[in-house]
Symmetry: C2
Subunit: 203 residues, 2 copies
């Protein structure tokens, strides 16, 4: 998209073209998440991606090493942001019950506001090559174990394996919003899911 006027403000240290490129790159990531989530990774072609972004086909290779690299960046990105949320909540050093409520709020907010990437995280893991697959799984496991560690304080009698199964279940509950396509507006999905998760973990 060529520039038509010279009125655009260019941030210090960055050229107009570099900011345009960054925008295009981000649009690739957003559109890819949307398309991958609705059709599946293998059912989306690079021509589809280009069309969604507004360029055509192979322009992708000016921004990513390949189609797989986009998926990889999406999945690693969401895992890292979840980890960041976990650590931010843990850093508040509240008591276990409060911490869990904080984690639930954070996760349900994330799941509701970014349904596509949440859905991709477990659905398209197998589409990644071995190396990045392991990286994502490691991050996911660290995230889960962070929750388990908090939960441990409330259920000292449960084994680590039992708590992991329970937490995996709670994630399934919280992430379920990624599956319901249309919900009658006015329905407070966040509250319903957060209350249900709290009922499982805090009773």
């Amino acid at each position: 998209m060529p520039r038509l006027t010279l009125m655009t403000h260019v941030p210090a240290g960055q050229t107009w073209r570099s900011t345009e490129k960054a925008k295009t790159r981000q649009r690739y990531l957003d559109e890819a998440a949307r398309l991958f989530a609705s059709r599946g990774f293998h059912a989306v072609s690079i021509d589809d991606l280009g069309a969604a972004v507004g360029v055509s086909g192979p322009a992708l290779y000016r921004h990513f090493r390949g189609k797989e690299a986009i998926l990889s960046e999406i999945l690693v990105g969401v895992s890292e942001r979840l980890m960041a949320g976990l650590e931010a909540t843990l850093a508040e050093r509240a008591e276990p019950r409060e911490t869990l409520l904080g984690l639930i709020d954070f996760h349900v907010d994330f799941a509701v506001s970014e349904r596509d990437v949440i859905r991709l995280q477990d659905r398209e893991l197998a589409s990644l090559p071995e190396a990045q697959n392991r990286a994502v799984r490691t991050l996911q496991r660290r995230y889960l174990d962070g929750w388990v560690e908090v939960l441990r304080a409330l259920r000292p009698e449960a084994t680590q394996a039992e708590l992991r199964v329970l937490m995996q279940g709670v994630f399934g509950l919280l992430n379920s919003t990624a599956h319901n396509s249309a919900v009658a507006k006015g329905t407070d999905v966040r509250r319903i899911l957060a209350d249900a998760a709290a009922a499982v973990l805090l009773t």
Copy 2:
């Protein structure tokens, strides 16, 4: 696989070949569920399917109209079996709380013993053509609404939309077992998930 001896007992009204064919067909369905669940529908070729069954490639077309027809049969099949379980439980005409506990037990048994097909049901829905996609979604919705109807008696103040969101969440919880790859043996996954679901629905 040609017959080597004549000692095989052939059930009345069926030829030896027809029973062999039925067995092969079932192996296709089983192996396809396993492969589709682990790699994704589009990442499994008909040669892969043939190799898993013990025949090669295009032999598939002696049993199914195509690769898609296998996925379709799997997904419609699981939805119908879930519906059958729902109706069997409802037919006992117990009170709401008992009915819900029965539904939870049925569903968690199903999810634990048939992880692959459960996983496929929401992961590969988009891989079906429009017609069968609609058929599966309709069955899934009837299943969900069956639960909702029972739950309604216990929560008369909640709206239909709220109960649907809640139930979708509980299914996410119960189906989460399809995602944990390895669980320390001796861990009673069924009980953990069933208790958690009961905590959500019956408190």
